[in-house]
Subunit: 239 residues, 2 copies
């Protein structure tokens, strides 16, 4: 209980910063997260490290890097279902013999650590996991609407805003600036487009003064205008 607990705002580990932002964590919960992060595992980039249908062993937390849930069709078409960013959980299941609901692909090198099992004395940890799960579901629903009802330009704006918002929670984005280590082809597989059309859509955003993108660094210079373009959907999963 007498763990040295730095205030949330100065938390230096992005994953812990995110989980603290989702629900107030007691010092002991933060201490257990710190301890868990001392036993990291690294996944090589461009590798699938979880395969759809395989048994799931333990819940883990992303500490750094970008991963994504993907589904690949027989003919090679690929859909990125959602992204896993620092502080996101994977392999959380309530059933007895869970299997992975989708494959997970490491876009960059990805570092994970075990997710401490919530205990009675872990003020807020279980709540943080629950809010994290609800948030993931929210993003998944948003992805459905994005693909079903928005055009290419709107999809790109909506998705960039979502990524910005998510990275900001972990302290990895601020003022519309963040790094995004994705190829246009991966973005295409996320937004249900072709890479050629993603390229043209990015150009349109640039010429509208809404985006700067150079060597994986994104700058959204006019967040207000972007917000005006999309549905105002703040992530609020608790009452």
């Amino acid at each position: 209980m007498s763990t040295s607990a730095a205030p949330t705002l100065f938390e230096s580990i992005p994953a812990i910063r995110r989980l603290s932002a989702l629900a107030a964590l007691s010092p002991s919960a933060v201490a257990r997260l710190r301890a868990a992060s001392a036993a990291p595992r690294t996944m090589r980039q461009r590798r699938e490290f979880v395969t759809e249908g395989e048994p799931v062993h333990e819940a883990r937390i992303v500490l750094s890097g970008w991963a994504c849930h993907t589904h690949v069709l027989r003919d090679g078409r690929r859909q990125v279902l959602d992204f896993l960013l620092p502080g996101d959980l994977l392999g959380v299941c309530a059933q007895s013999n869970p299997v992975a609901s989708a494959s997970i692909f490491a876009v960059t090198e990805v570092v994970t650590c075990p997710a401490p099992l919530p205990r009675a004395d872990d003020g807020g940890l279980a709540e943080s996991y629950a809010v994290s799960a609800a948030t993931s579901e929210h993003y998944l629903l948003r992805q459905v609407t994005r693909l079903g009802r928005l055009n290419a330009y709107e999809r790109m704006v909506d998705w960039l805003m979502e990524i910005h918002e998510r990275l900001a929670l972990a302290g990895l984005a601020d003022g519309g600036q963040f790094s995004m280590p994705l190829t246009q082809e991966l973005i295409a597989d996320t937004l249900g487009l072709t890479s050629v059309h993603v390229n043209r859509t990015l150009q349109a955003l640039r010429s509208d003064g809404l985006l700067t993108l150079r060597s994986g660094q994104v700058l959204l210079p006019d967040l207000c205008r972007l917000e005006g373009l999309i549905e105002n959907r703040p992530v609020r999963v608790t009452g």
Copy 2:
């Protein structure tokens, strides 16, 4: 414990039939479900009975009727996120103050009852709920791939197969036959198309001998051929 428990296969209440199919339920679990179903609540058709962002009070089970999660954009565009069919759960949340992640719209008249809280002695009930949740997530992921990477014809086939499979679990479909009380406009909002294009896609399926659809009654006369058209994705959420 000595409840009169008919074998699962002859279970007459579709919702209980589905939950029994997801995980083996003890007689006492079935008894509690039966008891809960004796306190039904009816939602009028064409009504939104859960609103996105509103607090969620209790978990409920759909006993009969069709409902759907929807998201409506400011300009009126609408996306159906997924359907709620007999045996499906709604309002299940692990957090302390959950809010609805999407609005729920009653397509037909919908009857629900409270979902009994799993207890230690409810063999299989918690497991059934967990598998149900995993299955819902599976369908949501499938919906993302459908919208992102399939064309209109493929979307329709994939979705019809999914509905058939889900209704079959509850004993409400068999041999490719089931009733589907949806307008083409609702199907369009589900598949990210216009109702005009849905109409044309249905015609294409009919002229290919894959579909009969008259006054809400669907017949898929050649399930094998349909399965050949889509990804073979049996729902297997447990190892």
